[in-house]
């Protein structure tokens, strides 16, 4: 009754106990297993076993975005594998370190997994296929050019001979790998572009899959933690005398910035933590509140020394000389991620050997932070891949890994699993930055927009979280979808006032694209209405030859939504479009708004042009998910501050959408080919503006800040 997540040292024992438990995914825990000498390895990504099983390595994280299936599909495509024989196994960060980063970047961030790795993954598949063909040709004594491949076999049609990959693998592994192979024409794809079932779903529905929170080790202890409620505060003193002798309590640790209670059961640790008396040194930020933050952002509106992100023509002059200038200010709040699985980290330090099990979007960063925190060499650290119970950008920074390893170091010799409470998670997040943006546009009576000035006043997550130097002082996230707006406006100025606060900020699903397209496309809608133009026609009039894909996705979605045709009485449409993460997206929302402010969403038509489509069923899922994620934020999402602390604490006051509120979502997948765009995040981008523009059409109310609850608007049952 105690199947273990274990280290390679106990490999043999695990294999025995796991097979007894029938169905535990061995490879999941034992990335080294497949490198047994008898398994021909064609390259770092591919192993083929005599029974035709094809092991394809996956080097990123799986958090629901589906890449653990989509990325191997790219390898299998060029390999001409039979997909039903493919088994996906994780590559590990420690193996990547040992093999000089043969697996490349392992981070799952920025909807980048497919678009950043497709080239080398397809090459890996094509290279292995070439070696299999060479081995077959050699054994038959025929030229390789006469051989073909399909469904895991090499064929020599002239002599009607064929050999399976499983039989050829050993000889193929001895062939010289070509430096580069010609990849397939996309029209010849047989796996890529098809709706392939996700490889992890069978283990999800049976409860067998293991998330970071599920790590289990012999003699394991559990830790509950509390960081200073005011960000960056410290423990002044603590008194744990009330709980130290309680059942199961092993140790109460003062670790500087946080307190940890270590016990033999997480609930015991968490209950005891409530009764540890902690005196916090909150520093100088213990009075920060909403008003102070807004004043701080507002100051950025008129700040003279700002960074210039885009400067076409002479915007200031054009605005000064304009007959009519339109102006509007938009605000979006700080937001928490609230992944369903909170932050977790299990770490075990034995001498200078450190093993870490956690839910991480960036296993290489986990390894580096773990090593630095424990003070051990990087090659002594092992980071085991686990499924993530959601990532949303929160599990890319390693603040929680650092905490987990600090605890493990204090408890050296014992494995300790740290789990954050939901309250800790909501109140110690790295929040989607808040942002205040002002638009000024010069537009003549005919609806010609001559000038646009966009001033962004917002924190810089690149400077504060990643400590990156900002090119020309511009944070690309803060001005995303603004600095590269697609509209033909001869005078365009986008500038940025960096306004950091004590609220830590980070990447959040769709980050800058979850806020700036809302503001930009709402303001464009304001201009369309001011000009008396149809919002679709107005956009198309501003989208010239330089923006063909913005045009095409807008038209595809408008068509799917029957834009321009009559709707039932009381139902109104809004539209928006934007590029994001290398893909092009557009959305039409159909809503009605009651006198009491109940917003009923009759339909969401969401379109994406990701260039090439890898797994269309997964793209539809990502669109549906993006709508849910977006609507939670749009209707209810905001973090408020009082006395330097986040006021929200759990799902009762950080509200997330539920099933009964889910509107009808129609996905429009409209690939134009020729490029690789992301799919995990982009679909959230045009949702808020399409919805806000529909609300304006229905009610005459222009929504210039989120969430909607602050405007007396609620989400009616769909």
């Amino acid at each position: 009754m105690n199947p273990l997540v274990t280290s390679p040292a106990r490999r043999h024992f695990l294999q025995v106990s796991a097979s007894a438990a029938a169905g535990l995914s061995l490879a999941f825990y034992l990335p080294e297993r497949a490198q047994a000498a008898d398994t021909p390895k064609l390259n770092a990504w591919i192993e083929i076993q005599p029974d035709e099983t094809i092991i394809i390595r996956y080097a990123r994280a799986e958090m629901g975005q589906g890449s653990r299936t989509s990325a191997p599909m790219l390898v299998a495509e060029e390999l001409d594998a039979d997909w039903k024989n493919v088994r996906v196994e994780y590559a590990t960060a420690h193996e990547n370190l040992r093999q000089k980063r043969v697996y490349g970047d392992m981070a799952s961030v920025g909807s980048r997994t497919i678009r950043n790795s497709q080239a080398y993954l397809r090459q890996a598949g094509g290279t292995a296929r070439h070696m299999l063909v060479a081995a077959a040709a050699q054994s038959w004594g025929v030229p390789a050019s006469q051989c073909s491949t399909a469904l895991g076999k090499v064929h020599h049609l002239a002599s009607k001979r064929s050999l399976s990959y499983g039989k050829l693998a050993a000889a193929a592994a001895l062939q010289e790998a070509p430096k580069e192979v010609l990849l397939k024409d996309p029209k010849d794809w047989k796996i890529v572009g098809k709706p392939i079932a996700r490889v992890d779903i069978p283990d999800i529905v049976t409860g067998k899959i293991r998330y970071g929170i599920d790590a289990q080790l012999p003699g394991m202890l559990y830790a509950a933690v509390a960081a200073c409620p005011v960000f960056n505060g410290r423990v002044k003193s603590m008194d744990a005398s009330k709980v130290e002798s309680r059942r199961g309590i092993v140790k109460v640790l003062n670790l500087g910035g946080f307190v940890a209670v270590v016990a033999d059961n997480w609930w015991r640790a968490k209950e005891a933590l409530r009764e540890v008396v902690i005196d916090w040194d909150t520093g100088e930020h213990g009075t920060l509140n909403n008003t102070a933050i807004m004043t701080h952002f507002q100051a950025g509106m008129d700040q003279p020394d700002v960074a210039v992100a885009r400067n076409d023509g002479n915007t200031m002059q054009a605005l000064a000389g304009a007959s009519k200038v339109y102006e509007a200010e938009y605000f979006t709040p700080y937001l928490a991620h609230a992944t369903m699985e909170p932050m977790v980290c299990t770490a075990w330090l034995q001498g200078d050997k450190l093993e870490v099990w956690t839910s991480t979007q960036n296993p290489e960063a986990t390894l580096a932070v773990s090593a630095a925190t424990a003070g051990v060499p990087q090659d002594k650290v092992m980071v085991y891949p686990m499924q993530l119970g959601g990532g949303l950008g929160r599990k890319s920074p390693q603040d929680f890994t650092r905490q987990g390893v600090m605890i493990a170091k204090a408890m050296a010799g014992k494995p300790v699993k740290m789990i954050w409470s939901r309250e800790e998670d909501i109140q110690h997040d790295l929040y989607r930055p808040a942002s205040l943006v002002r638009f000024k546009a010069a537009m003549d009576a005919s609806g010609k927009v001559d000038a646009l000035h966009i001033r962004v006043s917002a924190p810089s997550l690149l400077a504060t979280l990643l400590k990156l130097p900002l090119p020309k002082g511009v944070d690309g996230q803060a001005v995303a979808a603004l600095q590269d707006h697609p509209y033909d406006i001869p005078n365009s100025l986008v500038d940025y006032a960096q306004r950091n606060t004590n609220v830590p900020v980070g990447f959040w699903r769709t980050v800058g694209h979850s806020q700036n397209p809302y503001m930009r496309e709402s303001f464009i809608d304001e201009l369309a209405h001011a000009a008396g133009k149809d919002p679709l026609a107005f956009r198309l009039s501003l989208l010239g030859e330089k923006s063909p894909r913005d045009r095409s996705i807008l038209q595809a979605v408008a068509k799917a939504a029957n834009w321009g045709t009559p709707l039932p009485k009381g139902v109104f449409r809004g539209i928006a479009e934007t590029e994001g993460y290398g893909s092009y997206t557009a959305c039409v929302c159909e809503v009605s708004v009651s006198a009491k402010g109940e917003v009923k969403i009759h339909r969401v038509v969401m379109g994406i042009d990701p260039g090439y489509v890898v797994n269309p069923d997964n793209i539809e899922a990502q669109i549906q998910g993006s709508v849910v994620h977006g609507l939670s934020a749009i209707f209810w999402g905001e973090m408020t501050l009082k006395d330097g602390r986040i006021e929200q604490s759990n799902f009762h006051d950080y509200r997330l959408m539920r099933l009964n509120e889910m509107p009808k979502v129609q996905a429009v997948i409209a690939p134009t080919g020729g490029f690789w765009g992301g799919v995990g995040e982009p679909a959230q981008a045009p949702l808020a503006p399409a919805l806000a523009n529909a609300i304006f059409a229905a009610s005459g109310k222009r929504i210039r800040s989120l969430p909607l609850k602050n405007h007396g608007l609620s989400l009616a049952r769909a």
């Binding site: 992890d200 779903i201 999800i204 997480w266 369903m340 699985e341 119970g389 889910m662």
Partner: protein, 152 residues
């Protein structure tokens, strides 16, 4: 204290007010029920108690003593997926999957009571939070099980 989980009688010695979730996870190594909020808001910890869904994070283990507890691990019988699990695979419902054990058990309980649930029935019964936003597919999968008419 005696507990029956997935048809197996188990013994444990814990405080009576320990939530069932932590008895299952940390004492019995049954990891299917997940921790999400600790305050019965999200339902990631859902288990069936005599066939009824309960949020085990807020349910004292002592109240479950002597009763039938079922977690997601106990739903498939003899390696064969329960029709609801099969529908979840057929309709590719899960994304990250963290909440899905709870969602599936909630759906099993609903279908037991109402083999042909209406959308309103589904709305009322399926109150667990899914942060990935799989709601449309959850609804579709439940209707699919109902349409097949198999006894859930």
């Amino acid at each position: 204290m005696k507990l029956n989980v997935n048809g197996k009688p188990l013994e444990l010695d814990v405080e009576p007010d320990m939530p069932l979730l932590w008895a299952l996870r940390d004492e019995l190594d049954i990891k299917g029920p997940k921790f999400g909020c600790g305050v019965a808001q999200c339902g990631a910890c859902t288990v069936l108690l005599n066939g009824e869904p309960v949020r085990s994070c807020s349910y004292p283990v002592s109240a479950a003593a002597g009763q039938q507890v079922m977690t997601i691990e106990g739903l498939a019988s003899k390696g064969k997926l329960h029709p609801v699990q099969q529908a979840w695979v057929d309709h590719q419902v899960p994304q990250c999957g963290y909440c899905q054990g709870g969602q599936i058990l909630a759906a099993v309980a609903l279908l037991k009571k109402k083999p042909k649930p209406t959308d309103e029935d589904i709305d009322a019964a399926m109150t667990n939070i899914c942060r990935c936003g799989t709601y449309a597919r959850i609804r579709k999968a439940i209707h699919a099980v109902a349409a097949k008419g198999v006894r859930a």
